[in-house]
Symmetry: C2
Subunit: 411 residues, 2 copies
């Protein structure tokens, strides 16, 4: 009989990830910081902008000088100069005066608004007709209106998006403190597994999983290291795991869903002095024969050999671990990766475990249908046909046709 000492629920496994702390910080150039995770809060060192500036092309004015202006009764003001872009607007603005300036130009002392060029006409060099009144601060970005000095604008644990990068640039943060990307060693195991460049002989299979898992690691923000294929021999396992632990922050053993391999994995892990087997079997389908261990404080996952099982366990359990190593703040809001759909057929489910079902999405008029993609978990083509997963909770007996489901989109 398969000996799972004690199946753990997904929540129990996730709770065991708490022991693994975030990796160290490093400082990198801003040009490389997109999609990295901040390791420290970023406070604004100064106001942005540091001066009142125009956000429209036109004329700096005292707003009160335009009050009452209209096309039939324009205000006549005196053009007293021009603000050059990038220059201090040194010449003050007196009553009844205007100065030309463009978007981004600095307001001269005395001005409190900008009248848009569209509502004006120059009469000669010195006189401006203004056809519309402006309120104080109209068409002006005030000093500190974008960012106030001292405000924490981005918190540690933020994954940096393009606009966050833009903000950091505006603040002058050219070197960014981020978490190291987790280095993830992927060890493929199995006497039947051959390199992808080999022509498999009868009985052999190509090492598809290493490549799929490596791409998932990139999606999660880690850096994969393809260790290669090792045979199902104790000595090879121990030496390869030991070597991987030297350079990696996380080790993945791919394969081992057969009884013999699973026993070998446990035996190999137990041979390390500071090894602790935290999880040996998870109440999840597919993915039950998953192992989680800590060796000298570093995490190691033993993943099932079926590609669908391995990829589901990656999304459900390994991604949260990598998020911890990255120091990502809080769980991702659920709406970032899910869509609501209707299930197009009944799905039965065995009790006592959570089931993840591959689905393909299909828009039909107003309705988004989730069509289950059936097929054994050994078939990677079923993942290729699918757009995401639906989760059937442990205490549910199944789902009914037409039921609303949340589809967890593949990244």
């Amino acid at each position: 009989m398969v000996d799972f000492f004690q199946l753990q629920t997904i929540e129990e496994v996730l709770a065991r990830l708490d022991r693994f702390p975030a990796l160290a910080a490093e400082t990198i150039p801003l040009t490389l910081a997109w999609d990295r995770v901040l390791a420290a809060d970023i406070a604004a060192p100064a106001d942005v902008p540091e001066f009142d500036r125009a956000c429209m092309d036109g004329y700096a004015v005292r707003a009160r000088d335009t009050f009452g202006a209209s096309p039939s009764s324009p205000a006549w003001l005196t053009i007293s100069g021009e603000v050059a872009m990038g220059q201090v607007a040194a010449q003050p603005l007196g009553p009844g005066q205007v100065q030309r300036l463009a978007t981004g130009g600095m307001l001269p002392p005395g001005a409190d608004a900008v009248v848009m060029v569209e509502y004006t006409q120059e009469l000669g060099d010195q006189t401006l007709e203004v056809y519309r009144s402006v309120a104080p601060l109209e068409n002006v970005v005030q000093r500190g209106e974008d960012v106030k000095a001292g405000t924490v604008m981005l918190a540690a644990g933020t994954r940096l998006r393009p606009q966050d990068i833009g903000l950091l640039a505006a603040l002058g943060v050219a070197a960014v403190p981020v978490r190291h990307r987790p280095q993830v060693a992927i060890i493929a195991t199995g006497d039947e597994i051959v390199p992808i460049t080999a022509a498999p002989q009868p009985g052999q299979m190509r090492d598809a999983n290493s490549y799929a898992l490596a791409a998932q690691i990139k999606v999660y923000g880690g850096e994969p290291q393809l260790v290669g294929i090792i045979p199902d021999r104790f000595a090879a396992w121990v030496s390869t795991i030991a070597a991987a632990l030297q350079t990696a922050d996380l080790v993945l053993l791919s394969g081992g869903s057969s009884v013999g391999t699973r026993d070998l994995a446990i035996e190999a892990l137990r041979s390390f002095a500071n090894a602790e087997i935290l999880v040996h079997g998870v109440a999840i389908s597919p993915g039950k024969p998953t192992i989680l261990a800590a060796i000298d404080g570093k995490p190691l996952f033993g993943l099932p050999g079926h590609p669908v099982s391995a990829m589901v366990v990656m999304d459900v359990l390994v991604q949260p671990l990598i998020a911890r190593l990255l120091g990502l703040a809080g769980p991702e809001p659920p709406w970032r990766r899910t869509v609501s759909a209707r299930l197009s057929r009944n799905l039965a489910s065995a009790p006592g475990r959570e089931e993840f079902i591959r689905v393909r999405l299909r828009q039909e008029g107003e309705t988004l249908w989730a069509d289950p993609v059936l097929g054994k978990s050994g078939l990677i083509s079923t993942m290729v046909k699918a757009d995401g997963l639906i989760r059937i909770l442990r205490h549910t007996e199944g789902l009914e046709q037409g039921e609303a489901v949340q589809v967890w989109l593949f990244p």
Copy 2:
């Protein structure tokens, strides 16, 4: 008055992108192919798997030998050998016989099913008790069940996900034909713009846009080239654009939302022999002063200088262009990047243009609220606070509090 010769709608601009063909293909190692776009259909050169294999640990059997077996009336079968992993299962299976094999093992000739180890017990070395019947093909992955030789498994124009990478590995595709990543030159313009490492003097601003746009280019699948900052001088513009066109597939001019700069942009573009100005103003807010040109067949966008405007134009107009250069097949299905939410306040809209409003999402019980993030389009902090955009169509007068809206999530 601002002279927009003819504002074009978003759809009109998108239609003008059709003239730009996909970039050339290159062949890259599979380890680098994640998130790249296939340049050719990939057909399976052979069946996967190429032999019938077990997908459970147990015993290869003739299914009929187990018919009627139950715990109270087990079948007794003869253990005639074992299939080694990765080896040809050469020894045929005779009637009444079983052979041990593990998940992934090759079925011996004569066997048509696998009985799981859980439902058996060995009595000595030679006899197996079987407590449950299996149907033919049960617990077997048949030859070609995952992939049939000759089937097109991935079509040209597919952006490769982790499971697609796994499939390519299974097919032995170690070198992958993909489209070149578009090289996108980003030229920042403006006499008031200073490098991000500079301390801006009064009247000056740091070059935030180059960095935000560069990160957006990475999101879209391109490779940004930060050209740097050029002053608002005709000669500098012409020489810098000419140099950028030598190496880039697409040129972005950042800045130029002020009247003078816009005129300078048009003047500089017109000075090229084979230049065609395709778009000069778009009926979109923010983002109206957008320019699209073709110079010697290469696309150039003139983007507004306000960071929010520039980033919105990138998502609405530049991303589709990069998708074309990448040869991406068809539009992305809308559910990949949108969520439904309820608007938390009324929003008025000016007719005659499409408006994009920044929103922050907030879950409150069952309801996902979209809270508009108000603020001038010159404020990048408003993008940092937002989770996505909602679109108010051209002929709509606005949106009402409580109305259902589709939120276009920021990547």
